[in-house]
Point group: C2
Chain length 215, copies 2
């Protein structure tokens, strides 16, 4: 039996399927070839056990023997320490992966999440606040386009967990066609999501939630 | 001469002083008692060397011998590996610090930054987008209040880099009185910023930018 247990919701509505954050952890586990199993926690009724494992009442969390980690970004960095498939093991490669992982989680995700949330909720987008977020997102994507225009992957000329996370952050914007003005970002996302490990992770998440519809 | 070099802007306008992200790195370096020196990069004229070190044209970055790290969160995790003053060295303590560092950078900072940005820019706050961010921030602070109401520090009963970062993320909201409904968060922030290492870091940042006014 595997020591790695990934916990996600038992079910979610149609709209977020394919974007729930267990996907990026499944993807990393598949890239690394680490054995794991998936467990479920109720989406509708989040009790004290849920908040004890994940203080914001969200998913995923990962149990690794007697350790529990929450926040998908933390889980990815923890897994990267276990597998050279996710991160080069030399000091420079590690420092660059760490920098880009945090860039994806903070500098890039900061405009991506509100931008996507506004669209997800069908807001009009004419308010000055909405325009400020549009501008913030464009500034970040302009810089990412400049970085990605002449490199295939972010660090060390090879795929790492930094690419995995940056791609998954960009997916939420791409869903609402937010990468249309940024060709290098779009091409990068297409390269990342063409990987068999992404395809398996996506298929498995969709099947997990579909199984709950039937049950 | 120190191997650790922290680079920040040579000058910034009055308003962001005390909140520029080199502060959290100075704070960590002071807590850890690691020797370092501070260098400056132009605020007004950001050239290719700046973008080579920090792809978004921001600050800070840290040079550690022949390594360069950007993103303050990445720098803090890198420093935590060097110093037990910043992170317990056992596996459980490390996993919990990592989880809470990412929680601060992503789950908590995600609503804090747009909420603060809107106020920084003097936006009216009546748009549905503004109200959605208000609600998002409240949800996160409600959870942080529940966590902090019965613990002094986030991990292992002692101050760690997770507290340092969570406090610095909350400072931007506190500046606009955004913690007034969350007593446990406010008390936590007061405890964290009463530490001599914070006070020195804050004083040093203010003096750094004030020196540029005179120059």
């Amino acid at each position: 039996m595997s020591d790695l247990i990934l916990t996600t919701y038992d079910w979610v509505p149609e709209m977020p399927r394919g974007l729930v954050r267990d996907l990026r952890v499944r993807w990393a586990l598949e890239e690394a070839g680490l054995p794991y199993r998936v467990e479920s926690t109720p989406f509708r009724d989040r009790g004290p056990e849920h908040f004890a494992a994940q203080p914001f009442g969200q998913v995923p969390w990962l149990t690794d023997g007697d350790l529990t980690l929450f926040e998908s970004g933390a889980i990815l960095l923890h897994l990267a320490d276990k597998s050279p498939a996710l991160m080069p093991q030399d000091a420079r490669g590690r420092a660059e992966v760490l920098s880009w992982v945090i860039a994806a989680l903070n500098s890039v995700d900061l405009p991506c999440q509100p931008w996507s949330l506004f669209r997800f909720m069908g807001l009009p987008g004419e308010a000055p606040e909405a325009k400020m977020i549009d501008k913030f997102l464009k500034a970040r994507l302009d810089r990412m386009d400049a970085v990605l225009v002449d490199r295939e992957w972010l660090v060390a000329g090879r795929f790492t967990v930094a690419d995995l996370l940056m791609a998954d952050v960009m997916r939420q914007v791409d869903r609402f066609d937010g990468l249309s003005g940024h060709a290098a970002c779009r091409d990068f996302l297409a390269r990342a999501t063409a990987r068999p490990a992404f395809e398996k992770a996506h298929r498995d998440q969709m099947a997990h939630f579909a199984a709950a519809d039937v049950a």
